[in-house]
């Protein structure tokens, strides 16, 4: 397995294994409202990541004792399909998935106006159908859209993107091989309008300057992804919006 690994992750022209520049995002494909039964849903392809997010709620808290008197309880499950990785992954939730469910919930919660729905729950389900590094960030990108699609009042969207370090250079949006052989990974989620970070994790080795560079790079990328998220939402709702515009013209 290790025999065919490329020795270098950057070539002489500074291009990466998949031909990207150091600050280039992988291609994204975003669809909103892909599921029928869920109150809100979104499908995101981020490079070779394929991620589906579904939202149910606000709905009655069950079991009742988990309800909060002044806000909705947000619940989040991040889960990887057994066939999403090179080696089959057991479908039972791993410690990694439990940790990610927590940090993803904490990344999305600041954006949700949960105080409008006391005694109820909002459930967020993220299924990773294919994993290729950066699943938590792509999961956040998808889940934020699913929440918006469910009509849940939000302060704004949340977009996620990682930066990292390969062959001694800070680069954006690591792919699987770069994540495994690289020197550092820094997943970030951003609420772009208020310019605040809601998810921040890091592992590997970065100097303070490299960290600052990586943070700036990933927040810039989050802003780009945010534009794509808005566009994807518009795609689904442009019919509704057109109708609303027409109505506005009539009343004006």
């Amino acid at each position: 397995m290790d025999n065919n690994k490329p020795v270098r992750l950057l070539d002489d022209n500074g291009l990466r294994v998949d031909g990207r520049r150091f600050d280039e995002l992988r291609p994204l494909k975003i669809e909103v409202g892909t599921l029928d039964k869920a109150d809100g849903s979104a499908y995101v392809e981020h490079g070779r990541n394929k991620i589906l997010a579904g939202v149910y709620g606000p709905r009655e808290a069950h079991p009742k004792h988990i309800a909060l008197a002044d806000r909705a309880v947000i619940r989040c499950r991040y889960h990887m399909a057994p066939f999403s990785t090179d080696e089959r992954k057991s479908p039972a939730p791993s410690r990694r998935e439990l940790e990610l469910s927590k940090v993803i919930r904490e990344a999305l919660e600041p954006a949700i106006m949960s105080e409008y729905f006391p005694r109820s729950t909002i459930d967020i389900f993220i299924e990773v159908l294919q994993a290729d590094a950066g699943t938590r960030c792509a999961g956040i990108t998808a889940a934020a859209l699913a929440l918006a699609d469910a009509g849940i009042p939000m302060r704004e969207l949340v977009a996620g993107c990682a930066a990292g370090k390969i062959d001694g250079k800070v680069v954006l949006d690591l792919s699987d091989v770069e994540d495994k052989q690289g020197e550092a990974d820094l997943p970030v989620a951003l609420m772009p309008k208020s310019n605040v970070v809601t998810l921040l994790q890091m592992d590997g080795s970065l100097t303070e300057d490299e960290f600052k560079q990586a943070l700036d790079m990933s927040t810039d990328a989050c802003r780009k992804i945010y534009e794509m998220q808005r566009e994807a939402l518009r795609q689904k709702y442009h019919v509704i919006k057109d109708e609303a515009d027409k109505e506005e013209e009539v009343t004006a």
Partner: protein, 272 residues
């Protein structure tokens, strides 16, 4: 499934006192915003463990024990020993802890401590190989939270590091793929000393090393773990529904790096 935590059982009035104090640059326990609580570390407190350390961080008390035993290596690292970090939130440590399988908080803590040790390459895992692909030493670091008065991550990371530095294993030579233990005891091969520094954001102010009362009113926390070369090896934002601006993060990272340096010197002076 990860769910929004129930609110803290602290009275609103008390919460307001804590927040107001921090807003004025003061704290409930008379510290300044960037002061760390008094820290004591005692090594070798459990003789049956290969290594152990008990850490007092203010009133927070954490015990870590290291056990080392042979086992099978992972397929992708056939010539490296195995590091496992686990955390127990023992029910006697806090009225909010319950017996049972680890919850997301203890998993998060264990994984953040694990990342600090692993990513800083604190242990030279190659030296723990007995027979590549067949047998290696497994290092189990078990963290026991004994008294919870806030900032468990830093205390746990410190206890884990102390226990590893304290740990002794039998010297061994390899015969027919099996370890033959010698009388001589050797330390675990350490090559880095990761130290975690956690900062809490309360209102719009950041304070280092939050105590429990401060954790109950914080909007979020950021843990920064650095190695002896001042490189950052692990980070984790968590602890609530809050957010941090990029500038706040950079400021916290900068402060954490210099604080970690002081704390590392202190821990190592205790050890040697």
């Amino acid at each position: 499934m990860s769910a929004t935590h129930q609110g803290s059982p602290v009275a609103r009035l008390e919460q307001k006192t804590v927040v107001d104090l921090i807003g004025k640059g003061k704290r409930v326990d008379d510290r300044g915003p960037l002061d760390y609580r008094p820290t004591t570390i005692m090594l070798g407190v459990v003789e049956k463990a290969n290594g152990s350390a008990q850490v007092y961080l203010g009133k927070t008390k954490v015990l870590a024990g290291v056990k080392i035993q042979p086992g099978t290596p992972f397929a992708d690292t056939p010539d490296e020993g195995i590091l496992t970090v686990n955390a127990e939130f023992v029910p006697l440590a806090s009225p909010t802890f319950e017996a049972g399988p680890p919850d997301e908080n203890s998993i998060e803590l264990a994984r953040v401590v694990d990342r600090g040790i692993r990513e800083s390459k604190a242990i030279d895992l190659k030296k723990l190989c007995i027979e590549p692909g067949k047998k290696v030493f497994m290092v189990f670091v078990d963290v026991y939270i004994l008294d919870h008065d806030g900032n468990l991550i830093d205390a746990a990371a410190m206890a884990a590091l102390g226990a590893l530095v304290n740990a002794k294993m039998h010297a061994f030579r390899v015969e027919n793929g099996e370890p033959v233990y010698l009388k001589e005891m050797i330390p675990v091969p350490m090559q880095n000393y990761p130290v975690s520094i956690t900062t809490a954001k309360v209102d719009s102010v950041t304070v280092l090393d939050p105590c429990l009362e401060e954790e109950q009113v914080m909007s979020c926390r950021l843990t920064v773990t650095t190695g002896k070369d001042d490189n950052i090896c692990a980070m984790q934002k968590g602890g609530g529904l809050g957010f941090l601006s990029p500038d706040e993060i950079k400021q916290i990272v900068s402060t954490s790096i210099s604080k970690a340096k002081d704390l590392r010197a202190k821990i190592l002076s205790n050890v040697k």
